[in-house]
Symmetry: C2
Subunit: 189 residues, 2 copies
């Protein structure tokens, strides 16, 4: 940020009165420009048949991580709820018809100022198709997942937790959300 | 937003190529200025003694809702996790020493583009004191809470859910997060 979005004068990075953090402050109109973390929201679309559990992944047609696989997810927009964002991103990227369930993972990606949320979802049919931001969309069992071709740490951790929970035979285990904080990783998120 | 924060030229609200939503786009350097929901994060500091359950509330010294009571909470900052934000806001507003537990409520406040998260917390001692953003800080039983003097719907809903859960004698009930979407309310959030 170089200029004030309200009056076009240059901004200075400084700690405003009654604050403890440096902010971009306009020297002319004195607007303080706060910058805060963004929510990235998506789903884990699950297909169960004949005792086999598969999840739907999308291969990215956009940067970052072009060509790598990910759970359908994207930036939450103003004017929508987290669950509406998860549904929208899933439809946009995979064309999948899903029923959305509980929040399943909440992962802070601190070094990029993002919080990632994934909702559990049931894939309702096999009538899916890559959206404009995906090269292809496909179903994978745990063994089939291209683990070294996954785009983001948040996808890796959410999928690992999901298959771990799925294998636990004791169905009376209370539902647990997966929480994690990532500060640095090999990938951009 | 009126001017580009990168080059100071005027921005126009329009739908960029390959997008479906109107964004502020710079007509000069073509930067797209995305605007996304913000996270407001706080805690429910709980004090249990002799079978009595109390929560710590802060009376706001700032707008919006100056003079009204709220759970300690505030905007999550870049470079921190959601739990770190909950801890920081609690300390800043109430001076309380707490131990932070699970995420307890997640409430979308859609008409102001916010997602509110509250963590359950144990108040470790009674050595608390109002911070600069609070007029006073005090402990309340359910019956003592000034329900018509609470600042925000998200505080009201979280406290109602908390006391409802607390009264359930069956302690084997699985831990549940409270989810809600608010689109409009009498208060600003």
């Amino acid at each position: 940020m170089k200029f004030c979005s309200e009056c076009a004068h240059p901004v200075t990075l400084k700690i405003p009165p009654d604050d403890t953090r440096a902010r971009f402050v306009c020297d002319h109109c004195h607007t303080i420009h706060y910058q805060n973390p963004k929510l990235v929201v998506g789903s884990i679309p699950v297909w169960k048949k004949d005792g086999e559990v598969k999840v739907l992944l999308c291969r990215r047609a956009i940067e970052p991580r072009h060509g790598y696989w990910t759970l359908p997810a994207g930036f939450m927009e103003n004017g929508e709820s987290t669950s509406a964002a998860a549904m929208r991103e899933t439809v946009e990227e995979s064309g999948a018809h899903i029923e959305l369930h509980e929040l399943y993972s909440m992962i802070n990606v601190i070094h990029v100022d993002q919080v990632h949320l994934f909702y559990l979802a049931t894939l309702l049919d096999l009538d899916y198709a890559a959206g404009t931001e995906s090269l292809e969309v496909a179903l994978f069992t745990e063994a089939q997942i291209p683990w070294d071709q996954l785009a983001f740490q948040t996808t890796i951790q959410t999928l690992q937790f999901f298959f771990e929970q799925t294998k636990k035979s004791d169905q009376t285990t209370p539902f647990k959300i997966y929480y994690s904080d990532i500060t640095r990783s090999r990938h951009s998120a």
